[in-house]
């Protein structure tokens, strides 16, 4: 076989506390469409940043066309012939296609020639683009074409595509695949990053699967089934955790009925007909890869965005139109995914951060006057009950480690005695000790009859905590599965969006849920 275009050997990259890439090997041949597959946090982005010169590896070797190289910057990568199309575009909306492309090129200022080349290249690869159009008039798919054409103008030998289809319509996806196959036929190698299994089966010649910073398999997508790749991606090292044997199955405390919500974010996902309920004493999980509508769902559930009154029911009260304060009055507590700037304010003290959500339910402010003594003792209570390591209630939130601040945030919500608790990624970026404490606190809360909803990308977490779980994909929620009876393949396939493909497993018997009830 000819010399591989790109060979990575033993790539290693550590961040404080995390080994993002551990002894990663990757080989991409000439004219090959190579899939890089893995869940969020598996280390795909780090690896790609290393190839594109954004990050330098701590150890390992990069060979380009057989020659060892050091890629010091994206500029150096482009000079070698590596192009990259990012998931989020960097385009100036008020400028034309031509101006945007010219801004990304070094030195090229012959506008007429450049416009001609844009037209030529874009037509040659089935990506029609008018250089004079202004970007703000273009669809997302057309904007992506600008990014691709910008790369192609530099005659790349390797094109990196980071989740290119996450923003495209099915028709645009088909079109893109034709272009990528044409490029591959001309000898361009393509590194295709995705977690969408059916795309990889349809498009790619080879696949490298990563999990937890390591390569777990090199495989041929044509031979593998989507199911086997899902298992490799998700991992099989789990055993359902010991949960309290029989939880009380009582009436639903939190109901979501036919929730539709248009996203306000250009890269967001609109919700379509999301329906589920969480019963008293139950932990309900929502799994899914990030960007499938979780942010929109959480905004609607917490009251940060208002929806139809009947769409959200808290303890029998129609709450869809209420804001966060009124929902809190009904007993809803919420732990946002992002600690810094959403759940807590880094520059403020812990007692002020306690005030942030507990001022009504713990009467930390009465008649609009803040009771600082109460706020301080509330913060001290959270610190004490949840073993938060901090110098005291007057410590700034930014002085706490991630795990300790998260314990504080979780404790702040739990000590408000909620009826319903929504937790988003409650143990994201938290050390193992804090994670265990947070999990225990959520289970204890459910044992006291609170309805607990956990939205997480961490499947192990959901399998350990939940009684039932559903998967969100493309803004739609799957039917709930009983966690104890669900298999990893089913969950992995639902996460990859394989609801209707032939090798997908039919959804588990949900009737068994009713039998429990």
């Amino acid at each position: 076989m000819a010399t591989p275009r790109l060979t990575l050997t033993g790539i290693r990259k550590a961040y404080p506390g995390v080994l993002a890439n551990d002894d990663v090997d990757l080989t991409v041949h000439e004219g090959e469409i190579h899939a890089l597959l893995g869940e969020n946090g598996a280390g795909k982005s780090t690896l790609v940043k290393i190839i594109y010169g954004v990050l330098a590896p701590d150890a390992g070797e990069i060979r380009w066309n057989g020659r060892p190289v050091t890629i010091a910057s994206p500029n150096a990568a482009r000079q070698l012939g590596i192009g990259m199309v990012f998931q989020h575009f960097s385009l100036f909306e008020a400028l034309s296609v031509l101006e945007n492309v010219a801004l990304g090129m070094d030195g090229e200022k012959n506008w007429k020639a450049l416009a001609r080349r844009i037209t030529e290249v874009s037509h040659a690869y089935g990506l029609p683009l008018d250089p004079e159009r202004e970007v703000h008039e273009l669809s997302v798919g057309e904007r992506q074409r600008i990014e691709i054409v910008r790369c192609l103008l530099q005659n790349p030998e390797l094109l990196i595509m980071d989740e290119p289809t996450s923003v495209l319509t099915p028709q645009e996806v088909d079109r893109l695949f034709l272009t990528l196959r044409q490029l591959a036929a001309e000898g361009v190698s393509i590194l295709y990053i995705s977690h969408k299994l059916h795309e990889i089966k349809a498009l790619c010649d080879a696949a490298t699967i990563m999990r937890g910073g390591k390569v777990v398999a090199h495989c041929d997508p044509a031979v593998e089934t989507a199911r086997s790749m899902a298992t490799l991606m998700v991992g099989s090292n789990f055993a359902p955790a010991e949960k309290p044997a029989k939880r009380l199955k009582r009436a639903p405390r939190f109901q979501v009925n036919g929730l539709d919500l248009k996203t306000t974010d250009a890269f967001g996902t609109s919700l379509q007909d999301v329906t589920f309920e969480v019963r008293a004493g139950e932990v309900f999980g929502i799994a899914g890869v990030a960007g499938n509508g979780q942010s929109e769902l959480l905004a609607a559930l917490s009251g940060e965005r208002r929806v139809e009154a009947e769409a959200i029911i808290i303890d029998g009260n129609r709450a869809g139109r209420l804001g966060p304060r009124d929902r809190r009055a009904l007993g809803l507590a919420y732990i946002p995914e992002e600690r810094n700037g959403h759940a807590a304010i880094p520059d403020l003290t812990l007692s002020e951060n306690g005030l942030l959500s507990a001022f009504d339910r713990r009467a930390l402010a009465t008649n609009g006057i803040i009771r600082y003594a109460r706020a301080t003792s509330f913060a001290a209570e959270v610190i004490e009950r949840f073993s938060v390591k901090a110098t005291g209630a007057e410590a700034r939130a930014s002085s706490l480690s991630g795990g300790n601040l998260q314990k504080f945030v979780v404790g702040r919500e739990i000590l408000q005695a909620p009826n319903v608790l929504i937790a988003a990624q409650p143990t994201w970026g938290v050390d193992a000790g804090a994670a265990a404490a947070i999990h225990q606190a959520l289970l204890d809360l459910a044992a006291h009859g609170v309805a607990v909803l956990v939205v997480s990308q961490d499947l192990d977490e959901l399998l350990a905590l939940t009684d039932r779980l559903a998967v969100i994909n493309g803004g739609r929620l799957s039917r709930p599965l009983v966690t104890a009876e669900a298999t990893l393949e089913e969950i992995g396939l639902l996460m990859g969006g394989l609801h209707d493909l032939p090798d997908a497993v039919p959804a588990v018997e949900t009737e068994s849920v009713a039998a429990h009830g």
Binding site: E304, G323, P336, H342, A343, I345, L356, A365, G368
Partner: protein, 358 residues
């Protein structure tokens, strides 16, 4: 190559010391500037900073100039903390002066304790009405409040001209573009005999204390901080951004309007074509120099008022050009912002690709 690198830890003491550094640097740069222009720097600085306040009358004048600056700055600081950028206090001041002054003219030749309070209310409402326009556009359509409030300033100044050359012109004024002098009952009483220091200074002091309590002890003040520092956390807590836009703009506009009324009912005594020497804009400098804190605004207001007095005095005694006041205020803001940058960042020499590491 010189680069700025963010500091890991920002010292809180330095945050409060930067205004002091800014003042010292301004004085030093001023001395150099005076020397370069051929003036004796020591004599000039004396004329600028010391002579104006070396008499009781001078100190009272300092209070007269500082009153509108402090009053406006305290209101603006609330909005700036919440991330609402009201740049149009000058226009709100003008509308307050017009509305309050108009009420004063309605009571021309009359007496009664109620005249001054109704003028103050009208002044506040006039300023609020002018600030309500950017508030509505910002809250409803997310129109940039900086542009709207700034441009409305010029509309306000032209409205003042139109009225003072027209319906408000005094019938006994020999055609001068001035209103009638207000009756004694419509003028703010002096609180220090032989000076121009008026009741407005006392009211301003009370307002500063009230705003201080509001910002430090109430849920409203907490909301201002949260919305300004972390909009997402404010949404999480359930604090309404559009309500904050309205409240902070109305508050800033109302206090600017009151300051305008204090000018016409105090030192001026009638409505004239030019009511303020740019107090509404200078108050922005005062608010930042005072670290957006009500008490800080008092100190900063006194300092900036001194630059007005000093500029006037330097014109008279040393023969410097009038622009020297603006130059000093500009240098003050420049050095403050520059010191702030250096408190947050450190200067690094060298090429980033080499020194930056990874």
């Amino acid at each position: 190559m010189v680069r700025l690198e963010p500091r890991a830890e920002i010292s809180p003491a330095m945050r409060w010391l930067t205004p002091v550094f800014a003042v010292i640097l301004t004085v030093a740069a001023g001395a150099i500037l005076f020397a370069a222009m051929g003036y004796d720097p020591v004599r000039s600085l004396r004329a600028f900073f010391i002579a104006p306040v070396s008499s009781a009358y001078g100190l009272a004048e300092l209070g007269v100039k500082a009153t509108p600056l402090i009053l406006i700055a305290v209101g603006l600081a609330v909005g700036f903390r919440a991330g609402v950028w009201n740049i149009g206090a000058e226009g709100q001041l003008t509308l307050g002066a017009l509305a309050g002054g108009y009420v004063g003219l309605l009571f021309w030749g009359q007496e009664g304790w109620y005249i001054l309070p109704s003028m103050m209310v009208a002044g506040i409402l006039g300023g609020m009405a002018w600030a309500a326009i950017p508030a509505f556009l910002k809250a409803k359509f997310d129109v940039n409040e900086i542009l709207v409030s700034l441009m409305l300033t010029y509309v306000g100044l032209l409205l003042l001209s139109a009225l003072i050359y027209g319906p408000l012109k005094s019938p006994e004024g020999f055609g001068f573009p001035e209103s009638r002098m207000f009756s004694p009952a419509a003028q703010l009483p002096n609180i220090l005999a032989g000076t121009r220091l008026h009741l407005g200074a006392v009211i301003t002091g009370v307002i500063v204390l009230v705003v201080w309590l509001l910002m430090s002890r109430t849920l409203f003040g907490f909301q201002v901080t949260v919305i300004g520092q972390a909009p997402a956390a404010a949404r999480f807590a359930g604090f309404s951004r559009s309500r904050m836009i309205w409240t902070s703009l109305l508050m800033g506009g109302g206090l600017a309007g009151l300051a305008g009324l204090f000018e016409v009912a105090g030192p001026i005594g009638q409505i004239v074509p030019v009511i303020s020497p740019g107090y509404g804009f200078t108050a922005i400098i005062v608010a930042f120099l005072g670290r957006l804190h009500p008490l800080g605004c008092v100190l900063a207001g006194l300092l900036v008022a001194l630059s007005y007095l000093g500029g006037e005095n330097a014109q008279i005694t040393v023969g410097m050009p009038q622009a020297v006041t603006g130059v000093f205020q500009g240098m003050l803001l420049f050095f403050l912002l520059a010191s702030d940058v250096l408190v947050r960042y450190r200067l690094r020499l060298g090429n980033p690709a080499v020194a930056g590491g990874r």
